[in-house]
């Protein structure tokens, strides 16, 4: 589903954030991405989201070489991927419902379908009662779950999460991870960046480890 072939990313300042990274993530997989701060985890995710492009090598998503996706193709590409960010990236002047509905509005779903899907997604993350709340009145964990609901509301086949448990307590973190496992159970390919090694090593999924831009563990030969 996601395939990196000798991918390197050099930022304009000459810093190599990724060096010759190769791996394959199969459909229905749940994979953790870990490494020290600055190892290149976010950079890798940004390449998948086409927020940036690889300097060398090939990135394939669902069989499509991202180098062939032009500027106009980027929105369509992003609509196929759900993303969760550490800094929630919510619209703080809109209630929870509108935040979760955003991808559906962009996708052009009609009102009834939007309502149905938003409630289903909020139900899944246990926030059905907070539909009309403003994000600022929610706790960090609740905000994170709003972000997750928004990421899955379009039923994407790929779900990316960058530090989704960044500053949550261990119990909440475990709960969030369980949510991702649930989505994975119903056929969503999930890639989670996290440096909470204690947590992710307990969960028994494949782990990719980056060190200074190199994949040192979990890749392919």
């Amino acid at each position: 589903m996601i395939s990196f072939q000798r991918v390197s990313k050099r930022y304009a300042e000459g810093h190599d954030a990724l060096r010759e990274v190769s791996f394959d993530i199969a459909k229905d997989d749940l994979v953790f991405l870990t490494g020290h701060s600055g190892a290149g985890k976010s950079t890798l995710m940004r390449l998948i989201m086409l927020m940036d492009r690889a300097t060398r090598g090939k990135v394939l998503v669902d069989g499509v070489d991202l180098a062939t996706v032009g500027k106009r193709g980027i929105p369509g590409h992003r609509r196929n991927i759900g993303v969760v960010f550490q800094n929630h990236q919510l619209l703080f002047d809109r209630p929870v419902f509108d935040n979760v509905a955003l991808p559906l509005v962009i996708g052009g779903y009609d009102y009834r379908e939007v309502g149905r899907r938003v409630r289903a997604a909020l139900d899944k993350v246990g926030l059905l009662s907070k539909e009309r709340a403003m994000p600022l009145t929610l706790s960090g964990g609740e905000q994170q779950r709003v972000g997750i609901a928004r990421a899955v509301v379009c039923r994407p086949r790929i779900l990316l999460a960058d530090e989704p448990t960044g500053n949550l307590d261990p119990e909440l973190s475990a709960e969030i991870m369980r949510l991702f496992e649930d989505f994975n159970q119903v056929g969503v390919t999930v890639l989670i960046a996290s440096h909470d090694l204690a947590l992710i090593s307990r969960l028994r999924h494949r782990i990719l480890t980056l060190k200074e831009g190199r994949l040192v563990n979990g890749g392919v030969a």
């Binding site: 927020m51 929105p75 992003r78 990236q89 919510l90 619209l91 779903y109």
Partner: protein, 322 residues
């Protein structure tokens, strides 16, 4: 195979219809949302409306005034008059005779004989040079015939008449008094051009003002735009609400302009009618009319769109998720 193809065709037709529905839905949503935002910020919206309204009302109002002036002057018959200065040696009696002869012509309505003494008296009374003139030994003025052409005579026929009269014996010079009308006409033409130039400048100004307003709106929603792009919002999708914002501001400005022009015409209407009555004319001011007001609204809307487009193409592309 054919069934599958038919199925495919039906599906793609359905999906085009769906996409059209989605497109329409987002237009409605953007229009309503941006209108809501525009109406929520009452004070700044009112200011923007006023600025645009005044900028549009100025050239439009002047143009309406010019139209009225043109209509008024077109109603005037060209009151041309030919002055015939008679030769020195002609006596007053001969002058009177010539006047009577000329009055027989079909293309002449009346001829008035002004003797050189009368002319001097009138001139010294009007000019205030009485002392100077009375100290002159000789009256420097010739006898004068004031010829009014027959009414309804075309302008070039009047010119021909003037030529013929100038050739008559005893006539030193013929002068056609229409210059002031020509002067008026050229003043009107000049004003027309000035108004046009002013209009073009102010239209540019309106577009720039709106562009700046939309730019500020974009800046204030930068984070939101980043998020929308991150979850797959296309450029047209992001652009739409801002284009509608420009449209609403433009419409509002056009409305204010129409109100301003109508109000000033109403304010001027009474005094103009009184003035016209003094000149025993039934002239009254022509207003903007419903079509004029609608045109102003449409013009405002278009300018708003143009300004928004300017801002959006310059500023939206550079807001990308980092």
């Amino acid at each position: 195979m054919t069934a599958a193809r038919r199925e495919g065709a039906r599906q793609s037709r359905a999906s085009i219809a769906n996409r059209y529905d989605a497109w329409l839905r987002h237009h409605r949503l953007s229009a309503a949302d941006s209108l809501h935002r525009v109406l929520t910020n009452k004070l700044s919206t009112l200011m923007t409306f006023m600025v645009i309204g005044i900028a549009l009302a100025l050239p439009v109002g002047l143009n309406v005034a010019l139209d009225n002036a043109r209509e008024l002057s077109a109603g005037w018959e060209s009151p041309s008059q030919i002055s015939l200065f008679l030769e020195e040696q002609l006596s007053a009696a001969e002058g009177q005779e010539l006047a009577a002869a000329l009055e027989q012509r079909d293309d002449v309505a009346t001829v008035e004989f002004v003797s050189r003494q009368d002319a001097l008296a009138e001139f010294s009374a009007l000019s205030g040079f009485a002392d100077v003139l009375s100290s002159l030994e000789d009256n420097p003025l010739p006898d004068l015939l004031l010829v009014s052409p027959a009414s309804g005579l075309a302008e070039d026929a009047v010119v021909t008449l003037k030529g013929e009269l100038a050739d008559r014996e005893g006539v030193a010079e013929a002068v056609l008094d229409m210059e002031w009308l020509q002067r008026l006409n050229s003043i009107m033409e000049l004003s027309q051009r000035l108004v046009l130039a002013l209009g073009v400048l102010l239209v540019f100004g309106v577009v720039l003002i709106l562009g700046n307003t939309i730019k500020l709106a974009i800046e204030s929603r930068r984070e939101e735009i980043v998020i929308v792009k991150l979850v797959g919002g296309s450029n047209p999708f992001v652009r739409r609400p801002f284009l509608y914002t420009g449209l609403w501001y433009g419409f509002g400005g056009g409305l204010v302009a129409a109100l301003l022009v109508s109000a000033s015409l109403w304010y001027l209407g009474k005094p103009v009618a009184r003035l016209a009555a003094l000149y025993s004319s039934d002239f009254s001011l022509d207003g903007l009319g419903v079509m004029g007001a609608l045109n102003l609204l449409v013009l405002g809307g278009l300018l708003g769109l143009a300004g928004a487009w300017l801002a959006v193409t310059r500023h939206l592309a550079e807001i990308e998720p980092r």
